[in-house]
Every structure is written in C-alpha cells, then in structure tokens.
C-alpha cells in the first residue's frame, strides 16, 4: 500500500480526469441504464398512458383520455356499482401476505438448521432446497393437481383418517393454492435467510444467556436483529411475486378464485381491455412501491438502533 504512494496517486488522478471519468462511467453503467430505460422506464410510461385511454369497440386502444378505468376499478362499472375489484385487490394482498408468512414460518427453522450443519452437508442441504427449481413450475403445479385429486393416495389416506369426507378432493381449493404457492416460493425465503443466519455472531446470544435472558428474549433481542436484512429481503422476494401470481391460483384453484394477476391477465387476454388492464397494473404497482417506500423510510433508524 505505502510502497510508492506518489505513483499511485498520479495514476489515480489520471483515471479521474473529467474525460476519463465520463468514459468509464458510460462504459460501466451505460448498458445497465440503457437496459432499464428501454425495458423498464419506457414500458412503464406506456402502461401509465394506456391506462388513461379508452377501449375501442373491438378491443383497440383509442382516445379520448379518460379516468373511466380508474373509476371502474373503484367499483363503478357499466352495470352499476360493484365492490368487486377492491375486493380482489385485498384478496390478492391477503394471499401474498399469507404465502410470505407461511414461507417465513417454514424457512426460519430450516435456515437455522442448515447453518448449523457441518461444512459439506451445508452445500448438500442448500442444493436440496434449490433442486425443485430444476423442474418447471407448471409441471410441479400439475403434479400437485394429481396429488390433490380425490383418487390420489394422499386424499385417500386423508379420507381414511377421517380428515376428508369420502370421495372429496383437496383440488381445486384454497388449501391447494396455498400449498402450491409455499412450495414455489419457499427457496426465495430460505436462501436470503440462510445468508443472514450464517453470519450470526453467536457470542451475542451467549452473552444474552449469561445475562439471564430466556430463549425467546435471546431470539428476540440477540438473534432477530442480526437476521433482519435477510428476513426483509426474503419477505420482499416472496410477497411481491406472490401477490401478482396467477398461474398457481388458476391451476390449483380451478380458475374460480380470481387474484390480481388473473384479473390483469384477463384484461390483456380474453377481455381485450388493455386500458383497464393497464390501470389495474398501475394501481397495484403504486400500492406495492408505496409499501416498500414506507418500509425503507422507517427501516434505517430501526435497524441502526437495533444493531
């Protein structure tokens, strides 16, 4: 480091002359920025614009500019008031929250278990967590359909034990949707949690025990603050896609329980109402981004205080 500070200094200045700096930053961040502009910013602006336009007679996107789509989303449709769309929004948020909650519940002990395994076993365990991803989501979901149908060994066992009335199936139903969702999203919770749990400073836990903390207090005050980064990363990774998920509710719910994702998909698909679909997408985006922003605004002081 201090072998020849002067040469080092000079080359550094050379690198940071205005031109060189520009050139370098354009080279390093340019592609990323171009990518974000072309594939995120412009499409987003297009969605916002379309959401204020009108659906033509045959599903074209036409002027005039209007707030109709947002009014319809609030429940004021062609056939009178109907609180349907706000209900779907709430239902999707509940599904997202439940999925994220269940994933957390399942992933927390798993992450601790994996982190405490001896060296080689850790890698094996992590691979096992990821292995289901080598199979396509649709195939895994269809597999659940078969497992949950009334003739499957799973349902027969449940029927024999009296947990299910004879001849009935778990598919299609809400429980089937939840199982499918948790199976699909669990790794997104386990991996970031594991990364945090691995780095835990266990001396803090020991100190807490020495100072007379009970197990819950040890977890709450000595361990939890250390895994908050992984926990919130996992929460975001699961909650956001789970709220917008439409394939699993469709396949395991028998296309009967509409979620936000189904509603949007239907507007861009069979209903051919892009403006309304764009309005729903935009409102959903605002809600989610708003939630994240609130969290980010409150997080620094909390994290700082706890650390």
């Amino acid at each position: 480091m201090n072998a020849d500070p002067q040469t080092n200094d000079r080359s550094l200045t050379g690198a940071l002359t205005r031109n060189g700096h520009w050139w370098r930053s354009a080279l390093t961040s340019g592609p990323g920025l171009a990518w974000l502009t072309a594939f995120l910013l412009i499409p987003l602006l297009a969605i916002v614009t379309i959401s204020f336009l009108t659906r033509g007679e045959y599903g074209e996107i036409e002027r005039p500019f209007t707030f109709d789509n947002y009014q319809r989303l609030l429940g004021f449709g062609l056939l009178g008031f109907d609180p349907l769309y706000p209900t779907i929004l709430v239902r999707s948020l509940i599904l997202g929250l439940t999925t994220a909650g269940l994933c957390l519940f399942a992933a927390l002990p798993l992450a601790f278990f994996i982190a405490r395994l001896p060296g080689g076993w850790k890698t094996a365990a992590l691979i096992l967590v990821v292995v289901p991803f080598w199979t396509n989501l649709l195939i895994r979901t269809y597999a659940w359909q078969i497992l949950f149908s009334s003739e499957s060994w799973l349902c027969r066992t449940a029927q024999a034990l009296g947990w299910l009335s004879p001849g009935t199936a778990l598919y299609p139903g809400f429980l089937a949707v939840l199982v499918g969702m948790v199976c699909d999203f669990l790794p997104f919770m386990v991996l970031p949690l594991y990364a945090s749990v691995e780095k835990i400073d266990w001396t803090l836990a020991e100190a807490a025990v020495d100072l007379g903390a009970n197990p819950w207090q040890v977890f709450r005050h000595a361990l939890l603050p250390q895994i908050i980064p992984g926990l919130s990363a996992g929460w975001v990774l699961v909650f956001l896609p789970a709220t917008g998920q439409f394939v699993i509710p469709d396949l395991l719910g028998g296309a009967k329980t509409t979620m936000l994702g189904n509603l949007i998909q239907q507007q861009f698909g069979p209903s051919r109402d892009w403006p309304f679909g764009a309005a729903i997408s935009f409102v959903a985006l605002l809600l989610v981004v708003g939630g994240l922003w609130l969290r980010a605004r409150n997080a620094p002081e909390k994290d700082g205080g706890l650390m």
Binding site: R55, E57, Y58, G59, E60, G77, L78, L79, D82, L84, Y85, I88, S149, S150, A169, P172, G254, A255, K256, T258, N262, L263, Q266, Q267, F268, G269, P270, S271, R272, D273
Partner: protein
C-alpha cells in the same frame, strides 16, 4: 480472425434458415385437426407445419390482435368473431383462384352473413354447444340447461365452460332469451344464474378439458362442444352428449389467413388441401365435428352421419341459434365475464 468467427456465427444460422423447408404456422383449437393430416400436408408440400392451440375464441383474438397477426398464417375463428377480425384488419382476403376445392363445400354454408361472398373465410367445421354427462349415476339426467343451472336438477359435480359467449348464451337460453341479448335486465338474470352455479361447480374449463374431467369421473357433467361430446361417447359407453331442450348454439368455425401472414402462398395451399373431400372427411372422422364439405360426406363414417350428437335432426336444429357479432355491446359481456370469473 475474430471478425471471421463473428461472421461465421452470424451467417451460419442464416444459411440453415434458408436451407430449411417451407414453414406454415397454424393457430387452431386444441384436438381439432388430425395430426396425420398435418403430416400428410408436410410430406406433399415439403413444408414444416407448426401447430399452436387455444381453448377459447376470445383468447385467440387477443393473441392475434397483440402481434399474432404477423406470426401465424392460418387461424380458425368462429363465426361471431369474423366481423370483428375483418374490421380490425386482422384477416387477408382469400385469393379464390387458388382454392380449387372450394366447389366441394355445401352451398348452405357459403356466403354467410358474417362474411358475404366468403371474401375472408371458408367454413372448416360446424357444431353445437351442449352437455356431456355420465349416465350411470344415481342422479337422473334431465335434458335441460337446468341440469347446470337448476339447484334441484343439477348433479353434485359439473364443469362450466370457460368461454364468455358460450356460457352466457346457455344461461340466456335457459331463461328463454336470445343468445345475442344485449338487454341489461336479461344479462343480469343470466349473470345471476352463473354466479349461483359457480360455487357448486368443479371449475371453469375449455371444451376438451371439460370432456376429460367427465371421462376421468372428476365431474358428472360438463358443457362442451358437440365434437368433444361425440368423441367422449365413443371412448366411454356410459356417457351421453345432448342438446338441451330449451335450444342452444350452432356455430361454424372458419379457415382464414392473417393479414400479415409470413407464409402467404402456402397458407392458401393448406386451406385448399383441407377442402379436399377425403382430407375433409378424415378431419371430421377424427374430431367428430360436422363437416360443411358436401363432397366429403361419402367418406364420413356412416354411424357418425346417423349420430344425432353430430348431425342433429331437423326438429332440434330449429331450436339452434347462431351467435352474432355485438359490436360495441361486446363490452357488456366482457364486464359480466370479469365479474363472473372474479367473484
């Protein structure tokens, strides 16, 4: 040297693309064309046919509208969507000189109201919408739409068809209204019927999936198209397809070429190939729908010609109604559909 490698990587796929046989992209309902017919066409015309399938007509239109128009060559739209597709400039006028087999078609199916003069389409198959049900259960069959919509008549498990006009049309017919009603009061009545049936139903499915649910004994009854009904009856003798006594829908699916078809010439050759008498019969013998191809009738299996599920008798045909294009009023149906699916 490096530029040579780049050149090679760019040119190689190009060359292979040029060397490939002619291609044709077909967008059609699932289980609707005999794979052997496709293979025969590929052999005779030295072409590669890519078949993509859909389960409901509105999804097909949505995909064609959002870019599919320059991706697919031949599509198979039902009668009531043809006017919309023409107005949206999604279809190309047919070059009739290339369709030498056009004369094979039954005059009764020519120049329909949705496409006068067959400018854009030729009929492919026709059929009806009805109920496919298992007969051997303790719960008696009733040959009415009430089998789906009446709480006292319907069985413990049934499948609703996942298609807006077919399902709403059935509910409208059950109440004695036209399939093409745009009266808000009648539509609300139909919506109510469906909303009451929905929680008791197993699921919403396309026609093919509905038939499979009944065959797999997951459901006692399903709303399906006649071809699925007839094929199901053949596979399992304890099932039946019937057209409810209140009347139902009759439809014609049509062959058409997209406005920006990438393989325009082959598309017409394909349509002409389908209109051939023997090919037409092979298709209907496979999918068990009814053929509008008069010259094909002698090659249709005699038992199929006598099957009322496929060729309904005159008394039943009188109760059948075509869907029509509703123009701006389509929005009413779309809104009801969103509500029905979302509740």
């Amino acid at each position: 040297m490096r530029s040579l490698i780049i050149l090679a990587t760019v040119l190689l796929p190009l060359c292979t693309a040029l060397a490939e046989p002619k291609a044709l992209n077909l967008y059609i309902w699932s289980e609707y064309i005999d794979p052997q017919v496709v293979t025969r066409f590929e052999k005779e015309f030295d072409a590669k046919v890519t078949v993509d399938v859909y389960e409901d007509a509105e999804s097909m239109l949505a995909k064609i509208q959002s870019g599919g128009v320059s991706l697919y060559d031949v599509v198979v739209p039902p009668d009531h969507l043809v006017p919309a597709m023409i107005k949206l400039k999604l279809l190309a006028p047919l070059i009739h000189e290339r369709l030498t087999n056009f004369k094979n078609l039954d005059p009764a199916f020519l120049s329909p109201p949705y496409d006068p003069g067959n400018t854009y389409t030729v009929p492919y198959q026709w059929g009806t919408v009805g109920i496919f049900a298992r007969t051997n259960a303790s719960h008696p069959l009733s040959f009415s739409w009430g089998f789906i919509f009446d709480p006292k008549l319907r069985p413990e498990s049934f499948v609703l068809i996942d298609s807006v006009r077919d399902l709403l049309g059935a509910a409208l017919k059950y109440r004695g209204h036209s399939l093409n009603s745009t009266d808000p009061a009648q539509l609300k009545e139909a919506r109510q019927l469906i909303l009451e049936a929905k929680p008791k139903s197993l699921s919403f499915e396309g026609s093919v999936a509905g038939k499979n649910r009944v065959l797999a004994r997951a459901a006692r009854a399903a709303m399906v198209y006649s071809g699925e009904g007839a094929r199901g009856m053949k596979e399992d003798k304890e099932t039946v397809y019937f057209i409810p006594e209140e009347g139902s829908q009759i439809w014609v699916d049509n062959l058409a070429i997209t406005a920006k078809a990438p393989h325009r010439e082959l598309a017409e050759r394909f349509i002409n190939f389908i209109l051939d008498a023997k090919v037409g019969a092979q298709i209907s013998n496979f999918n068990q729908f009814s053929t509008p191809n008069q010259a094909a009738l002698p090659y249709i299996r005699p038992e199929d010609l006598k099957n009322p599920a496929i060729y309904p008798p005159e008394a039943v045909r009188k109760k059948l109604e075509f869907l029509s294009d509703l123009g701006a009023k389509t929005r009413l149906y779309d809104e009801i559909w969103t509500q029905v699916k979302s509740r």
